[in-house]
Amino acid sequence: MTAPQKIFEIPLYPYARSADQDAATPARHTVVVIGAGPVGLGVALDLAQQGVEVLVLDDNDKVSFGSRAICFAKRPLEILDRLGCGRPLVDKGVVWNLGKVFFDDRQVYEFNLLPEDGHRFPAFINLQQYYFEEALVKRATEMQAEGAPVSLRGRNRLTSVDQKADHVVLTIDTPEGPYTITADWLIACDGAGSPVRQMLGLDFVGKVFEDNFLIADVVMDAPFPTERWFWFDPPFNRGQSALLHKQPDNVWRIDFQLGWDIDRDKELRPENIDTRLRAMLGDEIQYSLEWSSIYTFQCRRMERFVHDRVIFAGDSAHQVSPFGARGANSGVQDIDNLAWKLKLVLDGTADERLLHSYDVERVHGAKENILNSTRSTDFITPKSETSRLFRDAVLDLAETQDFARPFVNSGRLSVPCTYDGSPLNTPDALPQGPARSRPGSPCLDLPLGDGFLLDRLGARGAPGFQILAIDAEVPTGFTAQGLPCEIIALNTQTAPGLTARYLGDVKSAVYLIRPDQHVAARWETWDASAVDAALSRALGKEA
């Protein structure tokens, strides 16, 4: 009897000949996305939901081989919920809050994500990347059946890209030979090794860490709790680190730091992985190895992400070390930022200045992620004897001294990016309001009626801006800059959660909300000319 097939072994979007391959002249598409990973599928869903024709090309026909990214944060789940597939991810995922840090054989530190009440989504879930991708493929198929302009072609590998003044020409290889198409815009979501980036000869500069990590994803019935366990210098992996974290279906992510000078083939042999696992978990464990891989760390990014008609998103644009779960989580924030901007540019409502703000805002996000993941990596893999001395001193002190614990860095987990300083923000006219709802922030969720506030916010069809009024007098409709804005008038009587998250000490508030649920501007009371000016700015017209 053979074991049942894993989802990542089944072709979910097998190659099928398309009419484009028989076209006399190259077919023109509005947007072509390269790569059907979490980022490529995400941007396709977002664009198609807003009515933009989008074609995804993938050199493969299956979801991610092996679990790869496993930690998904609240903000990407909220984004996926706007795209109609956030909740199934949580239903399948493992919710966790507690992390423990061990030094040698002692526990020296423990953290709790302490998720705040009143959000639809938890702070973090663990879920194999293949399930994440499967949910997005399923959603794309559903949307397609409902008539949305989205399609996905498996085993279609991009072999050349040629930038023209207002479009790109793409050559694609398939099992039945090559063909050519053109696209108004190309979005490269083709990963850290991005073939598109290489074809265009663009730089990807940063820092390489001289270290190797072995990932072993094992299936086992284990008595460990659903917590993130991280070891510095444990007895079973002397001088190195290790990580244990649970995924759905009794799959456990185990990471072993190996050091720099290793024999990759030897380390990947099942018998050598077995020796490591038994040293860590005991001789009596029973498990099967689902996936193993050895990876090195790099922290680097492109200088800018928009290059004429080619736009980079996710790992193709920026790469971080995995500690902190800032890879896929930031890629999903990229596409949330990009899709509505591209839609408005395609409509002629905004111009390339709005797309430039994608560069500004997401480079800001990438810098934040690179800074945090570089620091974590420096702590986990100290580069010098002195750096290790300080690291070990922090860990020693942390066991008894609370003051040392904030210095312990086994990964600073992904948090939503606030676009402080963005050219789209209007200076805060409500500085006495809650700081975490200031212009540039993603809106905070809270219970509202039978659902949650975020169910009502953001682009689901056309990329409208919205006006969120709280205990404020507002008109019933408002159109400015050629865009109708939905007005959502709420009061703190029926939704008391609004007070702490959106009012603070003020009596009323009017928020201008972007299609990606970020705050563009806020005031205490309604002022049509101020809202009009803020909208103009949020469309990039003042940049």
């Binding site: 010098s384 020693d396 001294q401 003051f403 614990r405 210095f407 860095n409």
Partner: protein
């Protein structure tokens, strides 16, 4: 007697830690050791109070 502050007192812990590690970049072990000695003496002067320094020495003793 003034008590040593052993509560969390550095809101930007990651920034401060990076400053410390960056200060050692490119130094040999001997240079780093000498640097650390100068740093400790400088901070001791900032603290000033011998009682507080005595308590800190005890914490470092483990």
């Amino acid at each position: 007697m003034t008590m040593l502050n052993t509560t969390r007192n550095t809101p930007r812990a990651d920034d401060v830690y990076q400053m410390l590690i960056d200060a050692h970049e490119g130094k040999t072990k001997a240079e780093s050791d000498a640097f650390n000695a100068r740093l400790i003496l400088t901070l001791i002067n900032h603290i000033g109070d011998a009682d507080v320094i005595a308590q800190a020495l005890k914490v470092a003793e483990g």
